[in-house]
């Protein structure tokens, strides 16, 4: 019983991590049909910026809880800056090109940004553990957990719910859905697709950066952290159905809980869990668990 609860809690924490890492990717894919490899850079820049701002914040004698603001500020700064620069400066020139070319362009941009990151922050790692230390610990099923990791579940829920409500209940969201369904018709209806794209990309970038920024206090922010995130995020998004926010959520939970069960029961297979689930889901449901609607072909 204790193990079961622990598996669930661990699984949910990891699921939330996966969701935070993947949600930006799925938002961008959903609207723009771009598989954005640069997502890994958003994550990494978010983490570095967060570590830097947290470090700077705790140099001051301002209230301790303010450190959390640094996390969100970092995500906003990175997301808005890179979102606008990349979308306006690069991607918009490629919209008419083959979708695979765009993936490759974002892959190229990712390589470039990996080194830009090192030019700015060097190779030494950054730590920002203060927010994690601040929240302390709690016992669940007689096992100690750190509260910070548990808050990740809340953050993922808020982000997921917020995006979902934003998409389905607001005017802007409905515009987005129209663009998702048919880009050309939306344009003909007078929707400014250009603005929709920029805003979507920025939102996706903020989400990617927020993933990194929020994880930063629990890790050593060092070179290479963006790479791992890419494949992980791809897998989650593919499992859930590319472009679907509820899909990303279900996909994340599926992978997260399965992985937790594997770690507790059969740690040897941990490495395969995510890809095995991905291959299995795709073999059964080619377009992922939540496939978006398709227009008639003939």
């Amino acid at each position: 019983m204790q193990e079961l609860i622990v598996i669930l809690v661990d699984g949910l924490v990891f699921s939330s991590y996966l969701f935070m890492v993947a949600v930006g990717l799925t938002v961008i894919f959903g609207v723009m049909k771009i598989l954005n490899v640069t997502h890994g850079s958003f994550y990494a820049f978010g983490a570095y910026m967060s570590a830097t701002l947290i470090g700077a914040y705790y140099e001051t004698d301002w209230p301790e809880f303010g450190g959390f603001l640094a996390i969100f500020a970092a995500a906003l700064i990175i997301g808005v800056f890179f979102g606008i620069v990349l979308e306006r400066g690069l991607l918009r020139f490629l919209y008419h090109r083959d979708e695979h070319i765009i993936v490759l362009a974002t892959f190229a941009m990712f390589l470039v940004l990996e080194d830009v990151l090192m030019m700015i922050w060097g190779t030494d790692p950054y730590y920002a553990y203060e927010p994690m230390a601040l929240l302390g610990i709690v016992d669940i099923a007689e096992l100690t957990f750190d509260v910070y990791s548990l808050t990740l579940i809340g953050l993922a829920a808020i982000v997921g719910l917020g995006l979902w409500l934003g998409l389905t209940k607001t005017k802007w969201g409905k515009l987005l859905l129209a663009v998702i369904f048919d880009r050309e018709i939306s344009q003909a209806m007078g929707i400014n697709v250009t603005v929709v794209f920029t805003v979507t990309f920025v939102i996706g970038a903020i989400m990617g950066a927020l993933g990194g920024a929020y994880i930063a206090p629990t890790i050593s922010v060092s070179p290479g952290i963006g790479v791992e995130v890419i494949v992980l995020a791809f897998a989650v998004v593919v499992i859930g159905g590319m472009g679907s926010i509820p899909g990303a959520m279900i996909g994340a939970v599926l992978v997260g809980v399965s992985r937790a069960a594997a770690v507790h029961k059969f740690p040897e297979i941990e490495l395969f869990v995510i890809y095995a689930i991905m291959a299995l889901v795709l073999a059964i449901r080619p377009e992922g668990l939540f496939a978006p609607a398709q227009a008639r072909k003939i």
């Binding site: 190229a108 390589l111 990996e114 080194d115 897998a235 593919v238 003939i298």
Partner: protein, 314 residues
Amino acid sequence: MRYLDKTVVGLSIVFVALVFADFFMAEWMRFIGLQSLARGAVALGLLVLWRTGLVSFGHALYFGFGAYAAAMLTLIGYHDAFLLVFAGTLSAGVLAFFLGFLLRRYRAIFFALLNMAFSMILYGVIVKTEELGSTDGFSVLTPTFLGYAPEGEAVQTTLFLFTLCFTYIITVGVHLYMKTTLGSMSMAVRENEIRVEYLGYSAEKVIHVKYVFSGLVAGFGGAIMALAVGQVDPDSMANWNVSGEFVFITILSGIGNVGATFIGAFVFELIRTYAFEYAPQIWQFILGGSLLAIIMFLPDGIWSLFSRFRKSEG
């Protein structure tokens, strides 16, 4: 004469030129050339897929599979290059044949990513197999060639010649194949699968054939790479970024001509080599930057430079 067009003639001239060059080339250049042939072969498979409208982000699966198949044979005492490369090629082809039944149902980004998922499973299997050295991989001894056991520089010279011959045959074969009905159906499937079905042929079957072919040549490239480098390891052979490099080379080359893939692979190796030498801290920056520049300013790849050059001549 029917099969002798300008591409075949051009490839033949380059082939003969390279056979001669083999004996004069600087060693490091020959080694880069060897790698270019190996990677170019994989890119050739991707080119065929690309002409069919499909891109795979997971062909390191077949590259790695071919490399490991060949390398594992050396562990049990087989060292003949013909046998090793044949085994590597064939085993990758067989794998592609079976996975093809699933993958031929997918298109666009799903096809690309499902390939990646499978390649990552292979990566995981290798990493978990301590008997095969896990991430360290293991060494592949110098091969023999039908009983001839070269030593010193002759190893690379012979291997280069060996690779060159097979690559030449494959490339000309692919070029001629692309002119057959089945080969041309790449275009038809890319442009309009519904029409292909309504003309009486299965688009999935077309894709399956191309997929098996791409698996075969990727396995060939992998086996050659294993022999050339003398080492197999999952990070150089089966990881996702290796697949990315193959797509990189395909874009660099453009899909205009079968021979372009080898030039693309060669240019890729040169960029990486010089970036490593002159900017060791930012070689990824240079690699990524070059790729971006190609995408933005040479949308049809390096081959379009040749075409332009020829146009201005004509």
